[in-house]
């Protein structure tokens, strides 16, 4: 059916041209590899910058009506590193101005005898529209709550309650999931989304370049006059586009797995040694296979749509809806705990995401995997068939067809 020698010659030519095209090299190779180290540097720099900023913030606070019995609280507040006790003639105005962060008023308790000797209530006046003011309120409130606990502890001691009895029990947690399992959980949530984005990004330029781009460069007719069947040309282009897409996707997975630890560590506060981000070796062949199948599916869709375009720009417009549509199913799947069911196995893209997620966690539902592979392979075969059928129409080959995919289906396919 296909002349594989010709297909190889055509495929090599496509790849060679592609690797010299800056846009393709950037989108299919460089971006997947270097985006994450760059993101990492940005995050690291951003966090250290913000850290430097906020570390220096002392909350400027005014105290009014501090009860004499609570000298300790006053001393604690004055001694606190990030609190500066100030006074102001018009504290409300200063808070609005931003020159004072909070006013702390110590008031007698509400009407009636105080529940505890020396009890007071506090009113912290602040400006909720200012971060510094809000931070000041929380700092002061936190000190007062600790003070309350301290006072209650002292009262308990006076009442003969041992501190241990007051503490009653201590709560701890233990996460028995291994670092590897935690890493796999996070990878399973994040990787599929990024994989699909990268497969689509890596695919888009080559798909448009191989179809609309050829027309724009007027090399399409040159190619049509060569001594090889149309089917070989279509197959070679298809394989080339799918290759670029797969390369982008696989490079991205690798880069993400390698840099995930460093990216997440400053954000989650966990030490880097806690989690291990590694995909089980046994899962690699399956992940590779489904990635390639998905790349073939996306390549097929984009090429079919782009083949209706006469210029690169037109091609982009035609492919964009499909490009965005590939992300949508994955957005719905971002809930952890979704079960992989036969129904999901029948939906392209969704099924691959589920296989991927489970494979990362070392779980294999073989019947569902088989359904997934069958569905994806069927989609790929359909795309190839459709592409070859489209190119049978002469106005397509000459690039004079002025419609789009919808119009084509209406006129040429459904009319029959």
């Amino acid at each position: 059916m296909f002349n594989w020698k010709d297909v190889r010659v055509l495929y090599v030519r496509e790849l060679r041209s592609a690797l010299r095209e800056r846009n393709i090299v950037v989108n299919s190779i460089l971006l997947p590899i270097f985006l994450y180290p760059l993101l990492l540097w940005l995050v690291y720099t951003g966090i250290s910058f913000v850290g430097g900023q906020t570390e220096g913030f002392a909350s400027r606070v005014m105290l009014v009506g501090m009860p004499a019995e609570h000298r300790l609280l006053e001393q604690e507040l004055e001694a606190t590193e990030n609190l500066q006790i100030r006074s102001a003639a018009d504290p409300a105005a200063d808070i609005r101005e931003g020159t004072l962060d909070a006013l702390v008023e110590f008031l007698p308790p509400k009407a009636g005898p105080p529940p505890l000797a020396g009890d007071f209530s506090t009113k912290i006046t602040f400006d909720d529209s200012k971060d510094r003011s809000r931070m000041a309120k929380e700092r002061v409130a936190d000190r007062i709550r600790r003070y309350r606990d301290h006072v209650l502890g002292e009262r308990a001691a006076e009442l003969g309650i041992a501190p241990e009895a007051l503490q009653e029990f201590w709560v701890t947690s233990k996460n028995v999931a291994t670092g590897r399992q935690m890493g796999q959980f996070i990878l399973g949530l994040m990787l599929p989304m990024f994989l699909i984005i990268m497969l689509s990004v890596g695919c888009m330029f080559p798909a448009i370049d191989a179809t609309a781009g050829e027309r724009e460069k007027s090399t399409w007719e040159t190619l049509m006059t060569t001594a090889t069947a149309r089917g070989n040309i279509v197959l070679a282009k298809y394989l080339y586009v799918a290759t670029m897409s797969s390369v982008a996707g696989l490079l991205n997975i690798t880069a993400m797995v390698l840099s995930m630890k460093a990216v997440l560590a400053p954000l989650t506060g966990r030490s880097m040694t806690d989690m291990t981000f590694r995909i089980p070796l046994t899962a690699l062949p399956l992940i590779g296979l489904v990635t390639v199948l998905l790349a073939l599916f996306i390549a097929g869709g984009m090429m079919i749509l782009a083949s209706f375009a006469r210029t690169f720009k037109e091609g982009q417009s035609m492919v964009s809806p499909f490009y965005i549509a590939t992300f949508l199913p994955v957005m719905f799947l971002q809930i952890p705990g979704i079960e992989f069911t036969p129904v999901l196995a029948l939906i392209p893209i969704v099924n691959v995401v589920m296989v991927f997620r489970e494979a990362v966690a070392g779980v294999y539902h073989w019947p569902l995997i088989a359904i997934t592979i069958a569905v994806e392979a069927a989609c790929v075969a359909l795309a190839l068939r459709l592409a070859t059928a489209i190119l049978r129409y002469e106005d397509f080959m000459l690039g004079t067809y002025g419609g789009n995919f919808g119009r084509f289906m209406k006129q040429r396919v459904f009319r029959r």
Binding site: S48, T80, E138, W170, I324
Partner: protein, 713 residues
């Protein structure tokens, strides 16, 4: 400037765009359709997750010597929650927590088999005392403290410290599986329930023993915000408003911008336009207006889109969300956004003018888009005030001003400064984009020159920055991810040898460069060495002064500085090794990379003064950590200037080695250059100037530098 001509051109651009139906559909219709879908998907997803977790009946097991006590605690917690004030949001959430104990023989196995979401292990006080001090033992209490609010660090020995477990106190350990969402959620709810149980238990104990008060009612903390709901809403929206508007303008404007010059160049119609009676300035103005119009229209459509979704509650709003937009606010915002829009339009036009083809323009758009979004992010930072140097930084100044205006604060003098600064920035970009259209090299598309045909050394200047970009990415990616390079020595060796030496050699081979020229291996006037001896210590001191100045603007976290010092001067390393790794090796390898191939590649692109700054800056960026960039860039500028004046890399190597050795000596002898008086830095600056003056007098200029203003085509 003939406005009639501009109007004709502008209308022509818009007409062409409107007839490109596909582009219009993709730019307008597609986002209108996609956005609700995505928002709906996100909302659905969050809702489902929340509901799923809420409606789950959490199965748990209880084990351990204190199992009975644990069961009583759980029961007590449930009672306390039922009796507590439902108005408290934390209590309302806990009331939805449904749990059921399952009796199992092996709770750990049951957890692994998903028969239970978590289990509780009760350890007696004695058992708990024998446990090793796990990090995790204190974790929950730390977590709770962290959630309570940012802790203010005590200056002295404080009594208000974090609670610790007292000896003899039993432990309730919640064992869960962190890689399962329901297990993590169950653990959080159980922890809160137990906290409530303990609070209730403590309060009951106190009351029983005679505390004549409800413990929950003492020392109550109340709060009162002076800001109205509208101001609070304004502060949230205000910090992101400029960022979002810039995103819409950039993506909206790019619809027409990428094609407006680059596409026309490709099609050959730009040359046709340039042969008409319309002036270059008029053409540029018309194109800018076209980009501005399209960008503004798309922005308005997107904003209206969002408002529609807000009205129909597709986008859920937080409670107390009150948006007020009095005329004064709206007019001021519009006035500030106009120059921003003009600036964005000009930047897009410049991309299109610089690129040779539509595809190339798109390639440049992405990084420019990312970089442009950074200045508006300044408004997100706490504590950045309009009354600071920020008022002069384009885009950042507008975002901070908008944040303050949205809160109702109109600092008119500073708003005026911001407006003028932004208008000046826009005017500059307008001028630059007009000049680009006069540059013949940029007007005509394609066209090969001898460099392209011949390849080799002539191509190197065009590719040099890309090579250094790749070097930077490799340095960063490898350093952070390869565990074998985790030690200081190995990482330094890798950076110096594999990156700073190997890459330049690769470049020399690939582009067939003459190694002597590429690495500036030239002899030097004898007196130049004397100048270097003056420069070494003075540059080091001045560099410290620069660092101190920089620290005022970009304060560095103390912890980071300390960590860096520890890494840089690892204890126990012999002096000769320190000297080799910190002085000699960087001096040789980094000079090869920066004052060698990089300087050689960029020598014709910039004027000498700018060249020194560019090479110095790149040198600084390779030192990665934010706080090192500025002082290292300063050193880089000094070393590059030495190279430009001597035409040789050898003095730079000596200066670099000397500088590092000097810093090392100061560090090891405990001298704190960061605490010196300002006059010390001033004297050092004079000595530095003297050194450069001497170099200038005996100069052998670096060959092949760009001399006059016009660039070689």
């Amino acid at each position: 400037m003939r406005w009639a001509t501009i109007r004709v051109l502008w209308a022509h651009e818009l007409r062409m765009l409107v007839r490109d139906r596909r582009t219009v559909v993709v730019a307008i219709v597609l986002p209108l359709v996609m956005m609700p879908l995505m928002l709906y998907a996100t909302r659905e997803m969050n809702e489902r997750r929340r509901k799923g977790l809420e409606e789950t009946l959490y199965r748990y097991a209880v084990t351990g010597t204190e199992a009975a006590g644990v069961r009583a605690l759980v029961a007590g917690g449930l009672e306390a929650v039922a009796a507590a004030d439902a108005a408290d949001p934390a209590i309302a959430t806990l009331r939805k927590f449904r749990c059921e104990e399952i009796r199992v023989d092996d709770p750990a196995a049951a957890l692994a088999a998903k028969e239970v979401q978590f289990y509780l292990e009760g350890l007696s006080g004695a058992e708990a005392d024998t446990l090793p001090p796990e990090k995790e033992a204190a974790k929950d209490e730390e977590d709770a403290a962290a959630e309570a609010g940012p802790e203010a660090a005590p200056k002295r020995e404080s009594v208000l410290v974090d609670p610790v477990r007292l000896p003899g106190v039993p432990i309730v350990r919640i064992v869960f599986q962190g890689d399962r969402d329901s297990s993590s959620a169950g653990r959080r709810s159980m922890r809160d329930l137990l906290a409530e149980a303990r609070r209730a238990g403590r309060d009951a104990m106190l009351r029983e023993r005679g505390l004549g008060a409800d413990p929950a009612a003492v020392f109550k903390v109340g709060e009162s915000s002076l800001a109205s709901a509208a101001q609070v809403t304004g502060s949230y929206i205000g910090r992101f408003l400029t960022l979002f508007l810039m995103m819409f303008m950039l993506t909206g404007g790019s619809v027409v911008a990428m094609d407006i010059i680059a596409g026309e160049k490709e099609r050959g119609s730009l040359e046709t336009l340039l042969t008409t009676a319309a002036g270059r300035g008029e053409i540029v103005t018309a194109k800018q207006l076209a980009i501005l119009t399209v960008g503004a229209v798309i922005t308005v459509i997107q904003v209206a889109n969002i408002l529609v979704y807000v009205t129909f509650k597709v986008i859920p709003l937080p409670e107390n969300f009150v948006l007020e937009a009095p005329p004064k606010t709206v007019v001021t915002l519009l006035l500030l956004f106009l120059p921003v829009a003009a600036f964005v339009a000009c930047v897009l036009l410049m991309i299109s003018a610089y690129a040779k083809t539509y595809k190339e323009a798109q390639l440049y758009f992405f990084p420019v888009y990312l970089v442009s979004l950074v200045p508006p992010l300044v408004a997100v930072l706490p504590g950045v005030s309009l009354r600071s140097i920020i008022a002069l930084v384009p885009l950042a100044n507008v975002s901070v001003a908008v944040r303050e205006i949205m809160v109702g604060r109109f600092d008119w003098p500073m708003i005026g400064v911001v407006f003028v600064a932004m208008v000046a920035a826009s005017a500059w970009t307008v001028r630059q984009s007009a000049r680009m259209l006069s540059n013949e090299r940029l007007i005509t598309s394609g066209g090969a020159d001898a460099a392209d045909l011949a390849g080799g050394p002539a191509l190197f200047p065009r590719h040099v920055l890309a090579w250094y970009g790749i070097m930077g990415a490799v340095l960063f990616a490898v350093a952070l991810n390869v565990p074998q390079l985790a030690t200081f020595r190995r990482q330094l060796l890798f950076n110096e040898l594999a990156i700073f030496t190997l890459f330049p050699l690769l470049m020399i081979g690939r582009y067939r460069l003459n190694i002597r020229e590429a690495l500036a291996l030239r002899p030097v006037h004898p007196l130049a060495w004397l100048a270097i001896l003056l420069i070494i210590p003075s540059a080091g001191l001045v560099g410290t002064g620069v660092f101190r100045l920089a620290n005022l603007v970009i304060p560095v976290p103390r912890e980071m500085l300390e960590q860096f010092s520890r890494e840089l001067l690892p204890k126990g390393m012999p002096i000769w090794e320190l000297g080799l790794f910190l002085s000699v090796l960087p001096a040789i390898c980094e000079e090869i990379a920066f004052r060698g191939t990089l300087l050689h590649g960029l020598r014709g692109r910039f004027r000498p003064a700018v060249l020194a700054i560019v090479v110095g800056l790149i040198f600084g960026l390779f030192h990665v950590a934010l706080f090192r960039i500025i002082p290292t860039a300063f050193l880089g500028v000094v070393l590059t200037t030495v190279a430009l004046l001597t035409g040789s890399i050898y003095p730079c190597m000596l200066a670099h080695a000397g500088n590092n050795a000097f810093a090392l000596w100061l560090g090891m002898s405990g001298r704190n250059t960061g605490a010196m008086a300002w006059w010390v830095y001033a004297v050092a600056a004079l000595v530095l100037a003297g050194g450069f003056y001497l170099l200038y007098r005996v100069r052998t200029p670096y060959p092949g530098l760009r001399r006059n203003a016009s660039r070689q085509p």
